[in-house]
Symmetry: C2
Subunit: 175 residues, 2 copies
Amino acid sequence: MALGKDYATQQCSIARALEVVGERWTLLVVRDALYGVRRYNDFLVHLGAPRAVLANRLQTLTAEGILEKRRYQESPPRDEYVVTERGTALWPVLLALGAWGREHYGEDRLRVFRHAACDTELAPTGLCPACGVTVPAEDVLMVPGPGLDPDPADPVSRALLKPKRLLQPIDTDRV
Amino acid sequence: MALGKDYATQQCSIARALEVVGERWTLLVVRDALYGVRRYNDFLVHLGAPRAVLANRLQTLTAEGILEKRRYQESPPRDEYVVTERGTALWPVLLALGAWGREHYGEDRLRVFRHAACDTELAPTGLCPACGVTVPAEDVLMVPGPGLDPDPADPVSRALLKPKRLLQPIDTDRV
DNA sequence: CGAATTGATTCAGTGAACGAACCGACCGTG
DNA sequence: CACGGTCGGTTCGTTCACTGAATCAATTCG
């Protein structure tokens, strides 16, 4: 990646972070991983990225310890990519980025994030206004917003219509 | 930009945000703008980006309303790029990203961000632990950390060694 | 007048992204 | 046991963006 070469001289942890997750598609892969996507093919259809790029990103993210490749069945050997703690730590970044995007460019809200314990909607900082705590990703409930297409084409988007906890694997087994 | 084409189908405000600020160098330009960098040449020496890319990013960011091009002197005509409210709204994203980068990759802390009102260090969420408020960017005091090179080559890095408020223009007039 | 400063644009070379095709391992069905 | 389908990729030619060096125009300073 050409990124690292120049950013390395930056003396800045933002630049350091962007070396790792600043490439095209990378943060969207992490987003999907947090949403519960785990399989190569599910990433592929949901992201629409070229296969070679996806394979490269999954490999890089695994090497960086953001995802973990895990064998979930032998014969045929199948691996899934599960987000690690380091990857989960990117959740506040994605939340803030999404809040900014919606605030300044989006009309309707597409997804709403709630504190699973009290069902209160999170602030863009990740704080639960009711409980006063910063909600960890595993306690976040993702609910579809009014702006979301109710009948998407791909099965992954369809699985993501159901309210679900972050990090919980998606469930694509249905009509 | 090739970014927009694919991300547009994503039904996601994170993807929408990345369409705008997801390109290489873009977030670093915004970071510098928040740090008080305003002039083409200052961005250039501090970032080390190719001139054509910098010119392109400044133009795009201006078109997106994240920076504002402002004439600061006639004869010779000189413009500076000042961060807008929309650009300032990216501060929490950069803070979270920097916190993640330092946490997972940095050894020393390079910059410390404090609440100007009470001098307390900010949480990665932007919250002031003492006051309990989310500190707006203009009330953030940036202080060099122990890991920062005390004698950098370029004048912009040298100007950024002094404690300063975010958004306040940098001062490069010195030895 | 000549040199320096500022804010760019142009251009050739390189590397990355794109999209389509292909591949190998395995499964289930007939 | 052939046949088609799925899964997780790799390969390849084209296009596009980034890179770095050179150039340029306007103006001020010496």
